[in-house]
């Protein structure tokens, strides 16, 4: 069969494209691999509230969409589709050829052809199948919507990840559950799930086959297992396999689409009409880098217009126009974009669509001469490109560094997550493009030249700031190209005491602890944060390492070999003195810490709690804490009724307790994957969640410290005096959720009370002075004066 257009994937993007093709009377078909539309949204919990971010962008689709319950959204789409031509259970296995004739092969062997294909398959990927005979039997399933749907059955769960464990534990309440694990432990699971499953296996409520593979599935409702000790046949009513998903990249590449880098987060190259490098093959939605429903729907509409040959302005045209209005260039949107590209060499190679998205997400700043762009020690982490004018970076030596159009700044905080290292001032009237961290990281993952350019500049400026302020740019660039980036996991050793001193490490992100072996045990003598260097002692004095340096969290370091360092030292007279003064400070620190080994133990303990990546953490002095929980109540009452900290939870050592509460990490894990980019960092360092949260729960899952929770709106607090006198209404910290179904939940976390005068309420409400907040560089003070 031949069509004008084949749309692959029945999510928001594909549905919107189909609806528009229908509206335009095209000869098209939508192919959906499963039996229903919008799989990802179907899998949401019943009644879940679906948000419609970004608010500023208007919807452009023949289907309706506004924030509302999952059911309302899905119903709206179903009815909006009307007579659209949709084929369900039509899994596409291959796409070949190019315009004007693309061949689409289905799993059943059928081949369809079309002049244009739109790929809108999202990023979820298809669930990985068992890969054995019988994998498609009707009693084998690869998802589980509602564990309470089944009772009294014998169910075999295959898999060892979080999804498998959560399913197995939930099912075991009403069923007899057997879990099959390929390995001899549940290594991939989160701690909480690990506890759940080991406990359930221990007390016999779940039976587990370790080191076992699935051999085959019998149609007579049984599964054959290859265990360590031989074959086993298990009769069962149901098999639930949770083996993860196959990322769609392999399939996409097999269609001939190229990705600009090997990085698994890289996005395919697209024209500003969403066309890939294969003529006639278009990509829209999450697969193209647009994870939000509204963006995807708009692209579905636009791509169909483009395929019809119509030139339409993108939905965001008006927003860009408004954004560009204050600029002195007097050009239209496209010309301004071209101008930005020509003025920022780093963006030369990125495609038009990505540049447009970058500019859309960025702010255009137009500081006047003498205005401050940001100040030293601000906690912002945006990345700023100079489009027009000049800026000055203040330095300690007094001579400012001048940057001009085509250069950029802000990369230090971008890469290390730390405070701004210098104040930047406009030295003429300027036009600056201030891009959010997330967008730049996305670019770095996709475009090698962007990464290299930012990396190099970072090294050059770090060397200049810390070691050789007077060196020539050319010399520094030569050094930068001879350095090597080394990455370490938490607890990995950079070098050990006694090793040969082969070079210097500049800590780019993360942090390290320095320890020495004294009297048979390792004593931590200092903690070195990103932006500093370690390994200098071996380079100016001894030839072997005098201490062991270990990463406290995932850490990136730039390695300068001893040879390079010696050359630098010969050319730059001040360098030796500078390094020697650092050595002097370290040595006296060592002496102090060696005299009080328990201080080192306390620091080790705090580092083990992941505090090496913290910027500001709540600690509790157990010798003063009476357990009244006024800190929690204060948190709840100043934040809409939900406390963002759990005092009692968490470990203690030497009477210092680390409660479950946000540490405002240098490089926050929670920010990693926020579709509406709602998690931000305030200039003072507070990591907070904006109103635009869509409640997806990614940040809650990404936080390794469990400090983010999903919470609904709570009832308003009663008047305090009334409550004290009459007891009517709910007391402090005891407010009920308004929406009992709990479906309109959003992520909440500590914002360090940034909007309250007087500082964090938890600390101010502590009656005994046990609660305190501090940054890791102050940990040493915990032990200085004793308790």
């Amino acid at each position: 069969m031949t069509f004008d257009l084949i749309i692959v994937g029945g999510g928001p993007a594909g549905l919107s494209a189909a609806a528009h093709a229908e509206h335009l009377g095209m000869n098209y078909v939508l192919l959906e691999g499963s039996s229903a539309i919008a799989n990802t949204i179907q899998r949401y919990q019943k009644g879940k509230h679906v948000m419609a971010e970004p608010m500023v962008v208007p919807l452009r689709s023949d289907l309706s969409f506004s924030a509302g319950s999952r059911e309302a959204v899905l119903d709206g789409w179903s009815s909006g589709l009307g007579d659209a031509s949709v084929r369900f259970n039509a899994e596409v296995t291959a796409i070949a050829g190019e315009k004007p004739s693309l061949e689409v092969t289905l799993a059943n062997g059928e081949t369809l052809s079309a002049a244009a294909v739109v790929l809108a398959i999202g990023l979820q990927g298809n669930p990985r199948k068992l890969g054995v005979v019988g994998e498609a039997e009707p009693f084998v399933q690869y998802t589980l919507d509602d564990p309470d749907e089944f009772s009294g059955e014998t169910i075999v769960v295959v898999g060892a990840g979080d999804a498998a464990i959560e399913n197995a534990v939930a099912l075991s309440r009403q069923n007899s559950v057997i879990i099959v694990n390929r390995r001899d432990e549940f290594a991939r699971a989160k701690d909480g799930n690990l506890n759940l499953i080991t406990r359930a296996i221990d007390d016999g409520s779940i039976k587990c086959f370790y080191s076992t593979n699935v051999g085959s599935v019998e149609s007579g409702k049984a599964i054959n297992l290859n265990t360590e000790t031989g074959q086993a046949r298990v009769e069962c009513d149901r098999i639930i396999a949770r083996l993860g998903a196959i990322p769609p990249r392999g399939f996409v590449e097999s269609c001939g689409i190229e990705f600009p880098s090997e990085d698994r987060n890289a996005l395919p190259e697209l024209s500003n009409k969403y066309e890939s490098n294969v003529p006639g093959l278009h990509i829209i939605g999450a697969l193209g880098g647009y994870p939000l429903i509204k963006q995807a729907m708009n692209q579905g509409y636009e791509v169909v217009e483009f395929i019809k040959g119509n030139e339409i302005l993108p939905a965001d045209h008006g927003i860009l126009e408004a954004k560009f209005r204050p600029l002195p260039f007097n050009t239209d949107v496209d010309a301004t974009l071209t101008l930005i590209r020509s003025r920022a060499p780093m963006f030369e190679d990125i495609n038009g669509l990505v540049l447009r998205e970058l500019v859309l997400a960025s702010e255009i700043l137009t500081p006047k001469r003498g205005n401050i762009v940001f100040r030293k020690n601000d906690y912002t982490n945006t990345f700023i490109s100079i489009i027009d004018g000049q800026v000055e970076i203040e330095t300690e030596s007094g001579t400012p560094i001048t940057l001009e159009a085509g250069q950029f700044f802000g990369e230090m905080s971008l890469l290390s997550g730390r405070r701004r290292s210098a104040t930047v001032k406009a030295s003429t009237d300027c036009v600056l493009l201030e891009s959010p961290r997330r967008e730049i990281i996305k670019l770095m993952n996709t475009y090698e030249p962007v990464r290299t350019s930012i990396d190099r500049t970072f090294i050059v400026r770090t060397l200049r700031a810390g070691l050789v302020p007077d060196a020539l740019q050319l010399e520094l660039e030569a050094i930068a190209s001879s350095t090597e980036q080394r990455n370490y996991n938490a607890d990995e050793v950079l070098f050990s005491e006694g090793d040969e001193a082969d070079g210097l490490y500049l800590i780019r992100s993360g942090s390290v602890s320095v320890s020495r072996r004294i009297g048979g045990r390792d004593i931590v003598t200092s903690y070195v944060a990103a932006g500093n260097y370690v390994g200098e002692m071996g380079l100016v004095g001894q030839s072997s390492r005098s201490a062991t340096v270990k990463a406290t969290v995932a850490t990136e370091a730039i390695f300068l070999s001893a040879d390079v360092f010696q050359t630098m030292m010969m050319r730059n007279t001040g360098l030796r003195e500078r390094v020697q003064s650092t050595v002097k400070v370290r040595l006296s620190e060592n002496l102090r810490m060696e005299a009080a080994p328990e201080a080192g133990d306390l620091i080790s303990f705090l580092m083990q709690q992941g505090l090496g990546e913290a910027t500001d953490v709540l600690l509790i002095d157990e010798s003063l804490c009476v357990g009244c929980d006024n800190c929690e109540t204060a948190c709840a009452e100043t934040h809409g009724g939900t406390s963002r900290l759990d005092r009692a939870a968490g470990p203690s050592y030497a009477q210092v307790h680390v409660p479950t509460s946000c540490r405002h990490c240098e490089d926050p894990h929670c920010m990693r994957d926020c579709p509406p980019d709602a998690i931000r960092r305030a200039p003072n360092g507070e990591v907070y969640i904006q109103e635009s949260c869509i409640g997806c729960g990614n940040c809650e899952r990404n936080c390794p410290y469990g400090v983010i929770q999903m919470a609904g709106e709570k009832e308003p607090a009663p008047n305090l005096i009334n409550w004290l006198l009459t007891g009517k209404g709910s007391g402090p910290g005891q407010r009920e959720e308004l929406d009992a179904s709990g479906l309109q939940k959003k992520a909440v976390k500590c914002d360090m009370c940034k909007d309250l005068s007087g500082g964090p309420a938890c600390v101010r409400a502590c009656p005994t002075g046990a609660a305190l907040r501090m940054s890791p560089s102050e940990f040493v003070n915990l032990t200085k004066g004793g308790s």
Partner: protein, 291 residues
Amino acid sequence: MHESILAFRKRRYLWVALGVIGASFVAYWIHDPQEPPNGGTWLGYTLGVVGAGLIVWLTWFGVRKRRYASTAGTVQGWLSAHVYLGMALVVVSLLHSGFQYGWNVHTLALVLMLVVVISGAYGVFVYLKYPQRISENRGGVSNSELLMQLEDLDKRSVRAARDLPPEYAEFVDSGIRRTQLGATLWQRLRNDDQSRIVLPGGDPAGVTNAGQEAALDWLAEKQSTASDPDVAAKIGELSALLRNKRRLMKQLAVDLKLQASLEIWLFVHVPMTAALLVALFAHILVVFLYW
């Protein structure tokens, strides 16, 4: 590591309180009324107003503590002032009374005030002493973690008993079901282990099993008379688990006792404050009615 409520800001409020006390004494010394010192002289009235003001302000702590967004000082500062000025109140009120007592509402107010202050002083003592002890007793883990460890030990005992004759399973089960610690406030404060157990062939109402003693004795006897070495080893395993449980129960009992002590005084301090306010109101009303 941090300042206690008494040491807060170089004992700033101690000096304020000493100032109030000193001033009251000096005034009392200088004052030479026609009649014996009492609340009706000009100094009596002055001290009365100061005392009543202090009581109202001290009570206001309960409000300030719950005004979580308030920027009027910190709660720790308020508590420090509350403690020192509460102590000063005793001197102010005694001097106000001119040491005249009787069976009347006036003396009732004074007595209630003393009860409140004394219970508060006990509160200060436990707040300063017990947190450290609680922390040491817990050894770095939380109360809920101790309870989880207990649950874990119980589960392991159930499993260990499975390999023994059925009477052992019943024995372990009854021991677990009748484990009781700190069911009432009184038991918590007395550090009382109320656990019981039904021994196989023994009284179906059970015997006391404080410190797991009855259970361990029974197991020791069984172990010594077991003829099968495998069975003896299994009994030994079970008995090791129960010894761990005994240690954990002791730790929990101490934790419960210390925590209860941290709270118990508030059950006197707060209701007595309410009673004091009522008595104070009556005292003032009566004074003005019978001028």
